[in-house]
């Protein structure tokens, strides 16, 4: 280890506490201890850090970051030292990142990022490391460990078995999570890079999952691929139960989803009685909002925004190669509460008795174009009674199924009794 690296690390620690240390002074003190007095570098680092902390009247420098912390107790904003096992490595999304992945200890797991500028040694999948003086911040709502040039990484000769603790789906938070869940829906992939998407459920609720296609060998970081690391993921089988360890929990628009690319999953025996955290509402469809019917979506990967009539995407500008889609934004009203509902293509096709292909055909030949589809759908559903089930978020019910309410003679009889006139 050379002295300038240590100098850099010490000055960063001090800077993080608001001081402006002189790097030359740090280095000369280190050199004096190391070269004149034969103190080893680690001890020299500790001494200089402590001395300077006193001089700048700082507390909590050095000592807090060398105290070993369990991963699940760490909160964003802390400088920490942890010991953990690399349980996943993922392809870096930017050239300024050397490595990304998940590190776990017996208490929990956390995503980490090693900056390219940190010049840190590459960590290998399946090995334990001690990471000193890393910073934890928040990325996409989840704590994230940042390995920078001031961080010390040392490989440990340890192979303690790690048993991740399973989190009930209803209690998942953004970050890393392990679940035992059943595949209850297998959806059509909406995207070239997607291998599989669908819905997982356990006793407490359901969550969307995604498995992305991987780029094949060498996709997982800069280190040599460890033999036990899977290259490319397998699909999950519908209705099977899995133990899924270290999946990435993402949050988007207040909704969580699981990305399984970081995860290890193995089938489990037994079945799960999936708890549906679904909302059911009944009522009359009293309003069909603009933006319903046939719409055009931005074809850019991962965008999917609705285009204007001029094919303009708010992010990707004019997109003549759009995709058509059907949707219904409406209000379902039971007389007590009016609720927004959003129905997707399959539901709309069934409800309006028109397929996307038919709708596109009509729109392209009818003088009213896409408006014609809006009116047709509106005239079919407006004023009708429906039962909608789905999940509620952001003040809107995302409808999974919608069925027309039918007339029940028993209900008429019950109401006649309740109104209580002379028996009919």
């Amino acid at each position: 280890m050379n002295l300038s690296e240590v100098t850099e690390r010490i000055s960063r620690k001090l800077e993080a506490k608001g001081a402006q240390p002189d790097r030359q002074k740090i280095e000369s003190r280190l050199r004096r201890l190391a070269e004149e007095f034969g103190v080893n570098i680690d001890e020299a680092e500790r001494t200089v850090t402590a001395d300077l902390a006193r001089e700048y009247n700082l507390t909590g420098v050095g000592n807090t970051s060398t105290e070993l912390r369990p991963i699940n107790e760490i909160v964003p904003g802390e400088w920490v030292t942890i010991e953990g096992k690399i349980v996943a490595l993922t392809p870096p999304i930017s050239p300024s990142i050397a490595q990304t992945g998940i590190i776990a200890d017996s208490s929990g797991a956390m995503r980490f990022v090693t900056w390219a500028r940190a010049n840190a040694p590459a960590m290998e999948y399946g090995h334990w490391y001690r990471i000193e003086s890393a910073v934890v911040d928040e990325y996409k709502g989840a704590p994230n460990l940042k390995i920078h040039s001031g961080t010390t990484i040392s490989r440990m000769e340890k192979d303690a078995p790690l048993l991740p603790s399973i989190t009930p789906i209803a209690e998942l938070k953004p970050g890393v999570g392990s679940v035992r869940a059943k595949v209850i829906q297998d959806w059509e992939v909406s995207h070239d890079r997607m291998l599989q998407t669908g819905l997982l459920g356990d006793e407490t609720g359901t969550i969307k999952f995604v498995i992305w296609k991987e780029g094949g060998a060498g996709s997982s970081g800069t280190g040599p691929a460890a033999p036990e690391e899977p290259l490319g993921k397998d699909k999950l089988d519908l209705d099977a139960v899995y133990n899924i360890f270290y999946a990435t929990v993402d949050e988007y628009n207040g909704r969580l989803s699981l990305a399984l690319n970081t995860a290890m999953y193995i089938t489990d025996e037994g079945d799960i009685e999936v708890g549906r955290n679904e909302t059911e509402i009944r009522g009359a469809l009293v309003h069909v909002a603009p933006g319903s019917g046939l719409i055009k979506r931005c074809p850019v990967e991962g965008c999917n925004r609705t285009l204007s009539r001029q094919n303009y995407c708010p992010v990707h500008e004019i997109q003549p190669e759009f995709r058509y889609d059907l949707r219904l934004k409406a209000v379902l009203d039971d007389g007590i509460r009016a609720r927004n509902v959003l129905m997707q293509r399959e539901t709309v096709e069934e409800l309006a008795g028109i397929t996307l292909e038919e709708a596109v055909g009509i729109a392209e030949t009818n003088p009213l174009g896409m408006d014609e589809i809006f009116y047709r759908i509106r005239n079919t559903v407006l004023g009708r009674y429906y039962t909608c089930t789905g999940s509620e978020f952001g003040g809107r019910l995302l409808v999974n199924s919608c069925t027309p309410i039918t007339f029940e003679p028993e209900e008429l009889a019950a109401l006649l009794n309740r109104a209580g006139g002379e028996p009919a």
């Binding site: 009359a284 009293v286 309003h287 009203d333 509460r337 009016a338 009674y385 006649l416 209580g420």
Partner: protein, 188 residues
Amino acid sequence: MKPQSAFEREPARRVFASELRETRYQFKEGEDEKSPTYVLLPSGIRSNRIFIVGTLTEKQRQGDQNIFYRGRVVDPTGTFFIMAGSYQPEAMQQLARIEQPAFVAVVGKPNLYTTQDGNCLVSVRVESIAVVDRDTRDLWVLDTARETLDRLDAFGTTDDSRKAQEEYGTQPDVYRKIVYDALTQVQL
């Protein structure tokens, strides 16, 4: 107190024509110009919007410069007067297209008018209207019966119903009878 940003759409109350016809009391919640206007239904609830299903029996185009349409929608208990003007072009055009007689579902806002001879009239300003089938009409009668009975069951226990008692001297049994009569007209 709800935060301002959490806008909640006013629900569409279910009410029979004979109850709406008795409505006389209109009020505004809050001083703001945009505050919603409510009518107080005799069964004891405020209403800014209603949902009705019945038979459109008559419609007329009126006005020269400001064209509007009037129509009559009949339910088992009486008649609703509906209108759609150029401030609701979609609704007006929709109404213009419908050939009477037809079962229609109407979402609209109830408004009180005083005629020249001093009578009070309730008319419904249409927001949306669509042709529906008989099943939907029957479902609406059941729905409206249930909600009316729910209001009558809670009569005297809510602020709105105490106000209705004060304004109309509502006799819940009269409305129970109306509900019962409406239900007997639904064919099994």
